[in-house]
């Protein structure tokens, strides 16, 4: 059964979605540089959160090491550009291939040997940490001293080699986020998506139905890794500097998954809402600290921690599902496959 992007939704669903898209498209006309920077950050987190969500939200595999794929994507594309002058548009293919291969290796080792749940999560952390220390000692890529791209010339946007203004990166990030949204929407309602959800709900039952759970888990990890690496390419060319201690660090992996968890795991809007709320919260807290003249490191993070705590305690499904119910955006599908729930 084929379901369109808007089927089963109350009419104002697509209208709201279109309004949001228009708003985001027009934002650079009114926003100042600071706001654009924040928006790029939001869209970046929304994108990588969406990519992570494929693995956790759709297929039920908890990865706590997604910084590995961000880092591999960032370093691959940056190294090809700096050392060989290869355009990031070609570089991203290599980045995706390498990240997908890394995902495949981790997935193969884990799923073949029955490493699941908490153990799988720790295995993913271990690989990311392994990469962090490895890149720290890899001279060709700058080691722990960092790897730098030639700083962009802001007067002219060079889309071909991704050198340009924050506004260019904003539209790039917006395109990626929108693309990931459409892709995930299609996936959720494809055969693969239904098999993933079956595996997520009960691997044993899925297997009993004849689903090759190894194969479909592999699809999820490989796709998620490849998509995440694309976020890494954006990261590298936007920030122009890469430090193993930063890109591969476990706090990056955690940062990346906060959005979808806060927003609502397994939903399409969750990663976007989560990224928006968390980034806005962090920025507001930062501004508030400056306004009150508090300059003690850590105060902001403590507030942030308490906010997270409250959300996890009182909104166990994340922010989006109850919000969607409140807005009347719950999908009401005619009888047939599909999960009853709020995921427009």
């Amino acid at each position: 059964m084929k379901i369109g992007l808007t089927e089963g939704l109350p009419r104002r669903g697509p209208a709201l979605l279109a309004a949001l898209l228009v708003l985001l498209l027009l934002a650079p006309l009114v926003a100042n540089d600071y706001l654009i920077t924040v928006l790029v950050l939001i869209l970046y987190f929304a994108y990588v959160g969406q990519a992570w969500n494929i693995m956790m939200g759709f297929a039920g595999q908890l990865s706590l090491g997604h910084a590995l794929y961000v880092g591999l994507g960032a370093y691959t594309s940056a190294a090809l550009y700096v050392h060989f002058g290869i355009s990031p548009w070609l570089g991203l293919l290599a980045a995706m291939a390498i990240a997908a291969a890394a995902g495949a290796v981790i997935g193969f080792l884990a799923f073949r040997f029955g490493v699941a749940g908490v153990y799988f999560a720790i295995l993913t952390i271990a690989f990311a940490e392994f990469a962090r220390i490895g890149f720290d000692h890899w001279r060709w890529l700058g080691g722990s001293g960092g790897f730098f791209l030639p700083v962009a010339n802001y007067t002219r946007n060079d889309l071909l080699s991704l050198r340009g203004s924050p506004t260019m990166f904003y539209y790039l990030a917006l395109a990626m986020t929108a693309g990931a949204f459409v892709l995930c929407h299609a996936l959720l309602r494809s055969g693969v998506g239904y098999r993933w959800q079956a595996i997520r709900e009960s691997p044993e039952a899925a297997q009993a139905l004849g689903i090759d759970i190894f194969r479909y888990r592999m699809y999820a990890v490989v796709l998620s890794a490849a998509m995440t690496s694309l976020g890494g390419v954006l990261f590298a060319f936007y920030y122009n500097n890469l430090f193993p201690e930063q890109v591969f660090h476990i706090s990056r992996s955690i940062e990346l998954i906060l959005g979808p968890i806060i927003g609502g795991i397994g939903t399409l809007f969750g990663p976007i809402i989560g990224a928006f709320l968390l980034t806005a919260l962090a920025e507001t807290l930062g501004e508030a600290m400056r306004a009150f003249g508090i300059d003690i490191p850590g105060v902001k993070q403590v507030f942030y921690g308490f906010c997270l705590l409250l959300v996890v305690m009182f909104l166990p499904e994340g922010v989006w599902p109850p919000l969607a119910r409140r807005l009347g955006l719950e999908r009401r599908l005619p009888a047939g496959p599909g999960r009853a729930g709020a995921e427009p």
């Binding site: 040997f113 720790i122 392994f130 490895g134 000692h137 795991i265 850590g298 105060v299 993070q301």
Partner: protein
């Protein structure tokens, strides 16, 4: 290099590893009974370390003596955390528990940062430069005391779980949750007690550890990770496994630092973890998860 150097380094790694083992023991006890992975474990360790530092710099109290009151404070912290925060999450999915403890860890790390600042702090004891001469080996006195204290605390814990009624009740909860409820055990209180005991372990380990390393707030997440690696290597839920894993990782780190560069030493730790996960996912001494 002469063989003695390797031996010296291995012994020093073994002694440090015993303290690692005690820290991991706390994580293992908590997971084995409450089935919650304590993602704030290393952060609790740094809280204990800073308590030891504060007591030492204010009153010159030896961390090895302060181990007992610090463990008691951490016990109270763990007990309250389990009753107030974690209990409602017992039946929630793993990622939800994970988020809860990540938030707690975030608050702890940055709370310490606010109170104690980012600079490394350390304890200078009278015996800091003493050493024992055992045949060809020169062993740091501090490390010997640290290792011995860790073994003593661990032995006390083993005895508690084997011989006391409460210890047996806790093991009963771990073995058969429904059965424990049926015979009328107050599972909620026992869970809180278990979390407290795990926290006390990490408290004791923390006050011992200040003798061996400088303390900074970011040490917390690093220790959380280390504790995971150790319990998974030894076997999640197995108490002797945690100690064995600690010793194994301690020796690996020490020798890895000697043979390559010290900054790459944890690569060997993670390599061991990956090997164990692949070839013996239940850990060296662990039983296959049901």
């Amino acid at each position: 290099m002469p063989v003695e150097i390797y031996l010296n380094v291995a012994v020093s790694g073994l002694l440090t590893g015993l303290v690692y083992g005690l820290m991991a023991l706390g994580l293992s006890v908590i997971f084995g009974v409450v089935r919650v992975v304590n993602f704030a474990h290393g952060e609790m360790m740094t809280i204990a370390m800073y308590l030891a530092i504060a007591l030492f710099s204010a009153y010159r109290l030896d961390p090895l003596v302060m181990l007992v009151p610090i463990a008691a404070v951490l016990f109270a912290l763990g007990y309250v955390m389990q009753l107030g925060l974690i209990n409602p999450f017992i039946n929630r999915p793993e990622h939800s528990q994970f988020m809860l403890l990540v938030a707690v860890a975030l608050i702890m790390v940055n709370g310490l940062l606010i109170i104690f600042g980012p600079d490394a702090q350390t304890v200078q004891t009278r015996y800091a430069f003493d050493s024992f001469l055992v045949g060809p080996l020169i062993v740091d006195a501090t490390k010997v005391y640290a290792g011995a204290a860790a073994v003593a605390v661990a032995a006390g814990l083993f005895a508690f779980f084997r011989f006391t009624l409460t210890g047996k009740a806790i093991r009963a909860c771990a073995d058969n949750y429904a059965g424990a409820l049926v015979v009328g055990l107050d599972v909620k209180r026992l869970y809180a007690l278990t979390f407290g005991i795990g926290a006390a372990c990490v408290g004791a380990a923390g006050s011992i550890m200040v003798l061996l390393v400088d303390v900074t707030p970011p040490l917390g997440p690093a220790y959380t990770l280390l504790a995971f690696v150790i319990v998974i290597t030894g076997g999640l839920g197995s108490m002797p496994g945690a100690l064995l894993g600690g010793v194994l990782i301690g020796i690996t780190e020490a020798l890895g630092g000697l043979l390559f560069t010290p900054s790459a030493k944890s690569m060997f730790t993670f390599a061991i973890l990956v090997l164990v996960l692949l070839f013996r996912p239940q850990g060296i001494l662990g039983r296959r998860a049901s």
